[in-house]
Symmetry: C2
Subunit: 249 residues, 2 copies
C-alpha cells in the first residue's frame, strides 16, 4: 500500500531534519562569527561554483520536460539566478558578496581555485537532474524546503558578526528568502502528486537524500581544506598570496 | 610550436611528482602502521567504490573507440579487473583484502556506507572518460605511471605493520605491480603519439591533473570522515556498530 500524502511529506521533511547542511559545524562557525576573513572567502569562492551550476541544472531539467506549463513554471528559477531586465539575479548578487569580502569578482566568476571536491559534488547534481526521472529531479530540488531557516539565521549571524555584512552584500540571501517559498511550494506539490506509488516515494526520498549529500560534501571539503587541520589540496585557492583579491582602491 | 615529445613526457611526469596521491598524508599513516583497524576498513570500503567503477570506465572508453586494435588492447584492462577463466581479477582480490581486514565482503560489494564524496569523485572520472576526447580519456589513465612506487611502498609497509597483511590479502597490489606497466606503457605511447599540437598537449595534461584530483579528493574525504577530527557524514559507514563486519567464525 502506498503511504499517504501526509506521511510521505513527513518523510521528506524528516530527511531535512536529519541531513540538511544547517547541521554541519561549518555553518555554526560561519554564522557565529568564528570564520577568519579567508575562511569566509574560501566559502564564497566555492559556493559560487554551486550557484553558477544551478541555472544549468534547471536548463537540463527543462530540456527534458515536454509540458509547456511545467517549463514556464520552472523557467522562473533560471530568471531568478541569471537575472532579467528588472532583476540583477542571484549570480550577480553573489558576486557582490564576493566583492564585499575582499575578493575580485572576476576571479570568483572564473571558478579558478575551486576545490576539486566541490566540482565533483556540484557536477554530480547537474548530471543527476540530467539523467534521472523527472520525479527524482524535482525531488532533489526540495532541499529548498529547509533553506529559509538557514538563510534567516545566516543573515542575522553575518550582520552581527562581520563588518562586510550589510543589506547590499547580503541581498542574495534576503532575495532568496522571498523567492524560494514559491519554488518549493510548487516543487513539493508536484512531488506529492507524482509520487503515487511506494516505489516512486522511495525514489523521491532517495533523490532528496542524494541532494543533502551534495550540500554536505561541499562543507566537508571546505572544512578539510580551510578550517582545521587545514590542508588545501593541490590547485585550490591558497589564502595569503594576494591571489583572487580585489585591488586596494 | 609544439613542445617536443620528450618535453611533453617530462611535463606529464612532473604532474605526478607534484600531485599524485602518494603525497597525501593518509598514505603515510596507512603505510607507516598508524591506521586503526577501523581506519583501514574505511579505506577498503571506500577504495572498493573506485575499483568497482574502473571496468565501467574502461567499457565507456571502448564504447567510443571504432578501432578494433585499440579496443582489443584496452580490453585487457577489463579482464584484469573483472577476471577471466584463469585469473580471479582485481575486484575479487580486493574483496579478499576486505575479508582479511575483518569486513564482510558482501557488505563491501554492496557499496553501502561509501562516503558520498567518494562517489562524487569516482563518478566524475567515469563521466570524464565517457564525455571527453579519446586523448583526454587515455591521458587520464596515466596516473598509473606513478602507481608502481605507491604499490611497492604499500606492500612493504602493510606487511611490516599489520597482522592482516600476507601474500593472499595483498595480492591485489602485487598483481597490479605486474599488470600496470604494460597498460601504462601503451597509454603513454598513445598519448605522446596523439598529442601532436600544443593545444592537445595542454588538454592531455589537464586530463591528468583532473585524475590526480579524483584520487586526492578520495583521501581528503577519508581523512575528514575517519581520521582527525573524524566527522562522518550522514549515511556513511560508522565503525563500532558491527555493521559490515565479517561474522566471527
Amino acid at each position: 500500500m502506498t503511504p499517504s500524502r501526509d506521511a510521505f511529506e513527513a518523510r521528506l521533511r524528516q530527511i531535512g531534519a536529519e541531513r540538511y547542511h544547517d547541521l554541519h559545524p561549518f555553518h555554526d562557525l560561519l554564522h557565529g562569527g568564528g570564520c577568519t576573513p579567508d575562511q569566509v572567502r574560501a566559502w564564497v569562492i566555492n559556493r559560487y561554483y554551486y550557484q553558477h551550476a544551478i541555472p544549468m541544472k534547471d536548463a537540463a531539467f527543462m530540456s527534458r520536460v515536454d509540458c509547456p506549463d511545467l517549463r514556464r513554471q520552472w523557467r522562473a528559477r533560471i530568471e531568478d539566478h541569471d537575472g532579467t531586465a528588472e532583476n540583477e539575479g542571484g549570480i550577480r548578487r553573489w558576486l557582490r558578496l564576493a566583492e564585499a569580502v575582499g575578493l575580485d569578482p572576476d576571479y570568483v566568476a572564473s571558478r579558478k581555485g575551486v576545490l576539486p571536491a566541490t566540482t565533483f559534488a556540484v557536477d554530480a547534481y547537474v548530471r543527476f537532474v540530467r539523467e534521472k526521472t523527472l520525479l527524482e529531479a524535482v525531488a532533489s530540488s526540495l532541499t529548498e524546503l529547509f533553506a529559509p531557516r538557514i538563510h534567516a539565521s545566516r543573515i542575522e549571524g553575518l550582520l552581527r558578526n562581520y563588518d562586510f555584512a550589510d543589506d547590499s552584500s547580503l541581498s542574495y540571501f534576503s532575495t532568496r528568502l522571498k523567492e524560494a517559498p514559491k519554488d518549493v511550494a510548487f516543487g513539493l506539490a508536484w512531488v506529492l502528486d507524482h509520487a503515487d506509488t511506494a516505489d516512486k516515494q522511495d525514489a523521491a526520498a532517495q533523490a532528496l537524500i542524494f541532494k543533502t549529500d551534495v550540500l554536505w560534501a561541499q562543507l566537508d571539503a571546505l572544512w578539510g581544506a580551510y578550517v582545521e587541520p587545514a590542508r588545501i589540496p593541490p590547485g585550490a585557492w591558497v589564502p595569503g598570496q594576494g591571489l583572487g583579491l580585489k585591488e586596494a582602491s
